[in-house]
Amino acid sequence: MTAEPLDILLTFARLGLVSFGGANLPEIERVLVEQKDWITPQLLANGFALGQVMPGPNMLAMTHYGFAAGGWLGAFAATLGFYGPTALLSAAAMTAWQRLSRWRWLPSLRSALLPFGAGVLLAGVLVLARGSIHSPAGALIAAVSFALLWRTRVNAALIVVGAAVLGAVLGL
């Protein structure tokens, strides 16, 4: 299946613009897996995992999904679509910041937006768990990774690479 580059660009632009606080996995899954059928739940989880060990923003998984949907052109369309419009919006918001900082509705907006962001993150955890955990061993790896990250200062990339080695050895 090869999708139209323009379709990929617009779809990922929309996904970027509805992502608050980083990854909006529930919507990404709904659109890319269920609605468009461009990727499988397995590929969603794989790409997300790869993003954790890449230099820079974790959501470079978008490049992976774009490639799966439409090859090289798809990868670039997805990357440009996901990051371009929100970056433009951010640059514009920065220039308007001085006026915005005295706006009396700004704290209200923040208080309204944060619980929404928290709900999206929790739903994202569930989406990712459904795609990545298929065995008790997998659940154990997830729990141990979380405990290590929460309680120690180990680099996240090291933990993901360690889990990959463990997964290959165990034949998950």
Partner: protein, 196 residues
Amino acid sequence: MSAPTTPAASAAPATPTPPPTPAGLLRLFVGVALVGIGGGLPAHTRRALTTRGWMTDAEFAEAYTLAQLTPGPNAVNLAAMIGARLLGGGGAALAVVGILTPGLIAMLTVTVFTLGLPGGLPPAVQSGLRGAACAALGVMLTAALPVLKVTAGIRFGPTLAVITFLLLAVLRADLLLVLAGTMIVGLILHRPRSGE
């Protein structure tokens, strides 16, 4: 880069450093991306900026708060904002290109390898990816913790968060509708008091 020791003019408390240049800005964000494997990009960005004397902690906190409020990936939004603040529109573009390029090259290389194989992934690689995905779930949970903590301190925050979660994860509702609903309820609950 080690900061050269300033010869004269050491009376001023602010450290005199060369102003940001396009090439310097690009280098800064490529560097942030490279040390930011496994996350923590905002922290690395802050350190790179303050050591160069291009931004104060207060200015950075301002940009960081704003980056949380705009949609999209926070680290990239933050780069665009800092670039815009230091060098205008061209600065924003350079900052975004800088923070994305190293990962883009790495991700494309790995993607072509993993998705381009004719017979699909070798079993060992697929098993490794499964293990990595489980650990990534742990990473995602840790990233959610600070947001959950701040939300717990907001009036009706936990309730709205749980409702959002149920609507999205269980009922699979449309995200924009849920966003509009929570925003309206949240803004009414937290409307500015006239006394302030």
